[in-house]
């Protein structure tokens, strides 16, 4: 990481601690903003957040690794999360999973080489009446079929 990038990140985190406050309760909102903007929370970002909130970096690391929507490793700009829980499973999740893997040419848990898509499973997203369902970032897609998946992915290309 370049020094100028580091400085920019520090300034960004300082701004976040100004808007959310520099107390411990602000940790999660700050992490969520960094995750949203940078696709992950780097070691350096964790250390800077810890310094500005006056807590140990391990506390920050512990929180980042606890929550499934926060990550220490870079992910794609678009995170595809296919619901794997019971109703979506019964409604035909497997066919959707196969389609996604083939179209994106990656397995679940992987990121495309151009860093565009990350493919993941997630647990119940509350769309059980319209399964199979998936999230792409915060957008929700329901009643999926293989052909619908292809249409959706095209829109993001």
């Amino acid at each position: 990481m370049l020094v100028s990038e580091k400085n920019a990140l520090t300034i960004e985190i300082e701004d976040l601690t100004k808007s959310f406050g520099d107390q411990r309760e602000s940790l999660l909102p700050i992490l969520q903003e960094i995750q949203l903007k940078h696709g992950h929370i780097s070691d350096f970002a964790q250390q800077e957040i810890a310094r500005l909130l006056d807590i140990h970096p391990v506390e920050v690391y512990g929180v980042v690794t606890f929550y499934s929507f926060l990550s220490t490793e870079p992910k794609g700009r678009l995170i595809v999360r296919l619901c794997q829980t019971i109703t979506c499973d019964l409604a035909g999740k497997e066919a959707i999973a196969n389609t996604l893997e083939k179209e994106l040419q990656i397995k679940f848990g992987e990121t495309t080489p151009d860093k565009k898509f990350t493919l993941e499973y997630c647990n119940c997203i509350g769309m059980c009446d319209q399964g199979p369902a998936m999230l792409i970032n915060e957008q929700v897609f329901t009643k999926l079929t293989p052909s619908k998946v292809i249409e959706i992915l095209k829109k993001f290309n």
Partner: protein, 390 residues
């Protein structure tokens, strides 16, 4: 998608003056109205709401908090999504009313990360409430001030447990606390805090408008009122339905036009599996209790696959803090994989059922205490079917 089969309370449009009515009466009268209605927590645990509010109200502290638990993560549940999306007023005003009743100054809506797409809409609604003086300083010209902040979750099922939710609000890992002390005494930042489900606030709003007596006409004597059910699985008309407590499973199946039903999972992954022979049982706290999830399985479904899916869910979502839940769920899932590989004796499964019963007693929070429920109930009713198919 609206609530299907609106029966009683969510059919009422005449609830405009609920907030005004609450704020112009004494806070303890609001608490008493809720107590008399017999309202119990709609998240599934069924703790009497009036008692919770009364305990928080009588706690001495210079700050108190109201938390709306919108971390709707139970598999098969989506009623809160619809309440937040389409009945926003009921939920937020319900929170203001609760705040007034217990003497709180601030409320949080803990919205699960998966529902982030609702965030902007909800934020706009709060701004509108502030403009209309239904939120903020001196609400509706009274001496009462209250504000609501929306906080997002980040994909952790366990944060639906109230003390884990509070930990998360405080910026920690979502690990449940020892209880007691309960949040009504020692909650957010150590201050008295009530944590209620989205539906509970919406219903409380309606009770204030229409009165406890009117409300308690519906339902059974131990479970007053109605319940929103999120119904999914093998049926023609999945969706959110409002039914009075005391409705039988078979009536629910007729409502959603389910055919050839083998079993119904009531209460989500942490709930119980009800086989066909027991479809005359009723949805009520004293019989089959649920936070709203109803999942229907028809004759073609393999109950082993269903159970594997539930146990995979718990293995992933266990926070790992206490041993019975962290190890126990893995052992239960391994047993199922042994069955799948035709490498498991029935007596070993019975041992695992015993392990499940130990987990119900020994786990620290609701997650581990209820995660063996589907294992125990599906094995109780379907072990012969599961074993004879392999």
């Amino acid at each position: 998608m609206p609530i299907l089969n609106k029966l009683v309370i969510f059919d009422e449009n005449n609830i405009e003056d609920s907030l005004k009515k609450a704020i112009s009466s004494e806070p303890q009268d609001v608490v008493m109205e809720i107590r008399e209605s017999g309202l119990k927590g709609r998240g599934g645990a069924g703790f009497p709401t009036g008692t919770k509010w009364l305990l928080a109200r009588s706690a001495h502290a210079d700050k108190k908090f109201v938390v709306c638990n919108a971390d709707e993560g139970e598999p098969g549940t989506f009623k809160d999504r619809i309440l937040l999306d389409e009945y926003t007023k009921l939920v937020f005003e319900g929170m203001v009313i609760a705040g007034y009743a217990i003497g709180a100054q601030k409320g949080f809506l803990y919205l699960r990360g998966e529902y982030r797409y609702l965030f902007d809409k909800l934020t706009k609604y709060l701004e509108q409430m502030r403009k209309e003086n239904r939120l903020g300083n001196n609400i509706l010209g009274s001496n009462y001030s209250f504000d609501i902040e929306i906080r997002l979750g980040s994909g952790a099922y366990v944060c639906g447990e109230e003390s884990a939710l509070i930990e998360s609000l405080e910026g920690h890992r979502g690990e449940a606390r020892n209880r007691p002390p309960y949040p009504v005494n020692t909650g957010y930042l150590g201050y008295p805090t009530i944590v209620n489900n989205v539906e509970t606030f919406a219903v409380a709003h309606i009770i204030v408008a229409k009165g406890a007596e009117w409300y308690s006409k519906y339902g059974t004597s131990k479970s007053t009122g109605t319940k929103l059910l999120s119904i999914s699985g093998d049926c023609k008309k999945p969706g959110v339905y409002e039914v009075p407590f005391g409705t039988t499973i078979s009536d629910i199946l007729k409502l959603v036009e389910a055919e050839n039903t083998k079993a119904v999972q009531v209460g989500g992954a942490s709930g119980f599996c009800i086989p066909k022979a027991e479809f005359d049982r009723t949805v009520a706290f004293e019989d089959v209790s649920t936070g709203g999830s109803v999942i229907i399985f028809n004759e073609t479904r393999d109950m082993l696959q269903v159970l594997e899916n539930f146990m995979e869910f718990f293995v992933e979502e266990s926070c790992g803090q206490c041993t019975p839940c962290r190890i126990g769920n893995v052992k239960l899932l391994e047993g199922l994989m042994k069955i799948r590989n035709n490498d498991c004796s029935l007596s070993y499964i019975h041992e695992l059922v015993d392990l499940g019963r130990s987990m119900q007693i020994a786990s620290k929070c609701g997650l581990g205490q209820s995660s063996p429920n589907p294992f125990i109930s599906i094995m109780e009713h379907f072990e012969n079917e599961i074993f004879s198919q392999r």
